[in-house]
């Protein structure tokens, strides 16, 4: 049943994406007499991406939950952002162009923590919706605000859901095209707990070339292009979150029981939190600005899972205390692959390093707080003259005059 649901989600995305793409491209169709040509409104494309993640088995040893057996994790994340409003503001002598961007963001995650001791596995889901506002002052400063709200639930107990919010505020300054720094705060559940953390980051190297980036608490990466279409990155990043988990479980023996024996509150649902650190390599293939594909793999370490009751989560500003936590000391492998679709015409931002920085920031903080972004396929790579493919006259007719033909 869950597989069918995932299948329908995939099919829905693949059906909606081309529909939206065709709708968008209508504005760029061949014009009829008297029909006004419409300028692209936004710098951001409508973007949808999805990726699948899986990791290996770990043995649970905490006596409170060791009856759950071995633990492994799989996740399918589908996320999007759509630009809603963009405004260019001409400052001073119109030599500085600032811009405001408002985006609608969201994601849907199917998470499958598989416990070998359970007969009926719990498929957890998380759906998030939010807004993102980005301000580029046109002169090296970028402000980034993200506010999201997510609902989590368990497919074995659909009637009980929980809503939570996440947020990010970041100020980013571009010192040079090869150096930028950021500072901010975030409310995140990335580490399986409610945390309010500072955001601190530095990037060294050009975004359209080789660059190293460190952003606490999101990632450390070294990125390098391998031609115009392929790029690679070596990275270390945390991944995790919290989910609703039905308290009632059925063991392989057929015995039905509850994980948390609470009183005084509705304990049909408990909290499942998890995090891990991924270290590995990611390869991005971007044949066009409308589509990119990635695979990544490596080692996952520092894995942790924990269960908490809502009894211990009354104060929405404090951390959640777990009644059963399980750190795993052993490392294992992980595999992650995904694809990104970008559709719609956008304003030209080639060579504009402030805009490159803006895209980079937007991709670094993914909707839904999963640390699972769309990748930087929307940042153009440097074009070497020799690498430019041959063109037909039709490709260049907008750029040359009759005089150039002689």
């Amino acid at each position: 049943m869950n597989k069918m649901r995932s299948g329908f989600t995939i099919l829905f995305i693949f059906s909606v994406a081309p529909l939206l793409a065709s709708f968008e491209s209508d504005s760029g169709k061949k014009e009829k007499d008297g029909k006004k040509y419409r300028e692209p409104k936004h710098y951001f494309s409508n973007t949808i991406w999805m990726n699948h993640y899986s990791s290996n088995n770990y043995k649970i040893s905490n006596p409170k939950i060791d009856t759950l057996g071995n633990y492994s994790f799989k996740q399918l994340n589908t996320a999007f952002y759509f630009p809603l409003w963009t405004k260019d503001v001409y400052k001073k002598d119109s030599t500085i162009i600032a811009n405001h961007h408002l985006l609608l963001t969201g994601n849907f995650v199917y998470a499958s923590p598989e416990f070998s001791g359970l007969k009926v596995q719990h498929t957890l889901y998380k759906s998030a919706l939010g807004f993102r506002y980005i301000y580029n002052n046109g002169d090296k400063n970028i402000w980034f605000f993200d506010l999201g709200s997510f609902t989590s639930g368990d497919n074995t107990l659909l009637e009980r859901q929980e809503r939570r919010s996440t947020s990010v505020i970041v100020f980013n300054h571009v010192f040079k095209d090869w150096l930028s720094m950021k500072i901010g705060v975030t409310k995140t559940f990335l580490f399986g707990d409610r945390l309010h953390l500072p955001v601190l980051g530095v990037r060294i190297g050009r975004l359209d070339g080789v660059y190293a980036s460190v952003t606490f608490p999101r990632n450390i990466s070294l990125n390098f292009p391998m031609g115009r279409k392929l790029s690679a990155s070596l990275f270390v990043k945390p991944m995790g979150g919290i989910y609703n988990f039905a308290n009632s479980v059925t063991y392989t023996s057929g015995k039905d029981t509850i994980l948390y024996n609470g009183s005084g509150i509705d304990s049909t649902m408990i909290i499942f939190g998890r995090y891990e650190y991924l270290g590995g390599m990611r390869l991005d293939f971007t044949p066009s600005k409308h589509f990119s594909l990635f695979v990544s793999g490596g080692v996952t370490s520092g894995n942790w899972i924990g269960f908490a009751s809502y009894q211990n989560d009354k104060d929405k500003f404090k951390r959640i205390s777990v009644f059963a936590g399980q750190p795993f000391s052993e490392n294992s492998g992980f595999f992650n692959f995904g694809m990104t679709f970008r559709f719609g015409r956008t304003k030209n931002f080639q060579g504009n390093i402030n805009m490159y920085e803006l895209f980079y920031l937007n991709n670094e903080f993914d909707p839904g707080d999963n640390n699972d972004g769309a990748g930087n396929g929307d940042i153009p790579k440097q074009m070497k003259e020799k690498k430019m493919r041959k063109l037909s006259y039709k490709d260049i007719e907008d750029f040359v005059d009759e005089g150039d033909l002689n």
Binding site: F343, I353, M383, K390, D395
Partner: protein, 146 residues
């Protein structure tokens, strides 16, 4: 049922991927322009950061003016020999207005660029534009020779 569903999903995925993976030559051309302009005009990081938003804005407005003009007069251009005097006069006026708009946009862009760059570097725009067009023509010729 399950087989058909899987097959439809795979086929749908493949078709969508193919349609989205078509390379866009305009983006490559825009990227080539950045490379040639940066090389020819020798701009510093700060100058480049300010120049490109202004130049892109100019290019966008120029494209909008051209496409709007073509959209508004496409049928007239296709039937030039069948136009009435009134229609011909309207087309001439539209063409002149369009050329004037192009010139105004260029003058406005150069005025802004002169604030960002020194006059000498600003004048190098003409060289950069020529180099860019020359390179495009070379790429067309190379394709035709093949």
């Amino acid at each position: 049922m399950k087989k058909k569903f899987t097959l439809a999903t795979i086929l749908g995925t493949f078709l969508v991927m193919c349609s989205f993976a078509q390379p866009n030559k305009k983006d490559d051309i825009d990227a080539l322009r950045v490379t040639i302009f940066n090389k020819t005009m020798g701009m510093s990081t700060d100058e480049s950061a300010k120049f490109w938003p202004v130049y892109n804005d100019y290019m966008q407005k120029k494209e909008t003016a051209r496409k709007s003009h073509m959209a508004a007069n496409k049928v007239k251009y296709q039937n030039l020999d069948k136009l009435s005097d009134e229609e011909a006069n309207a087309l001439i006026k539209a063409e002149q207005n369009y050329k004037q708009t192009e010139l105004d946009l260029h003058v406005d862009m150069m005025k802004k660029v002169k604030i960002i760059l020194s006059p000498k570097k600003t004048a190098l725009i003409y060289k950069a534009e020529e180099e860019f067009r020359k390179k495009l023509m070379e790429l067309v010729k190379e394709k035709n020779e093949k």
